[in-house]
Symmetry: C2
Subunit: 112 residues, 2 copies
DNA sequence: TAGCGTTATTTCCCTATAAATATAACACTA
DNA sequence: TAGTGTTATATTTATAGGGAAATAACGCTA
């Protein structure tokens, strides 16, 4: 029997999702591209969906995660704040730790 | 900032979900009630949804998880096999361990 | 001033998921 | 034999979520 243990973790604030895998992927894409529309294209999700995700992150956080500018040289853009960068690296850290834990548990299923 | 780290784990076989929180809840309700229809009513999900969940568990497992009988004294029913009982207790064990790990990580978010 | 590429937001439509309904088969009971 | 409460399955109906498109505002550039 070939088992795999999968997991998904997310952070909630006031019973609402604040940060999860999808939001972290999006934040990383914003960090790389410098814009929400480019990030959405690179992840092949609609701009609307990307905007809703970022909007909910902003509304849940009490410290800025991204700063956006509209108009200007290249039309504007989005940038991660230092707090935002720390947030995604901490999320990744915890997530990897969770995977490592689950790997150690696999044998419990295999010799069941 | 009041953070909570939430998680969901599940077991896959051949890239398909074999066992997750919902299926485990349903199996426990079957163990308590002795029937799939009673279990579905107690969890307030439709019989159809419950049947699809159990059907996929049966198809993924290569050892029986439940045995069902149709017709008869009380119309029939469903029972967990010893393997099925071991499966849900192991799942619960791993799941609680995951929660414990995540609790230890919460401080990383709080003093960020 | 016209054009551009963004952010920001609304509206409409479609589709995929879930719920509700219906039906068959079954084996016991009265 | 009629009735009952299951399992098992198909069909129809409703609902919610996502995608596409349209629109506005913005501030730089040429």
């Amino acid at each position: 029997m070939r088992f795999k243990i999968k997991s998904r973790i997310w952070i909630e604030v006031d019973e609402h999702v604040f940060l999860g895998g999808g939001r972290v992927r999006l934040l990383k894409a914003i960090e790389e591209t410098g814009s929400l529309s480019k990030a959405a294209r690179s992840l092949k999700i609609s701009y609307k969906k990307a905007w809703i995700l970022i909007d909910s992150v902003n509304k849940s956080a009490n410290e800025p995660v991204i700063v956006s500018s509209v108009g200007g040289k290249n039309g504007g853009g989005m940038l991660l704040t230092p707090y935002g960068k720390k947030l995604i690296s901490t999320f990744d850290d915890i997530n990897h730790g969770c995977w490592n834990y689950l790997d150690t548990q696999l044998k419990k299923l295999e010799n069941l």
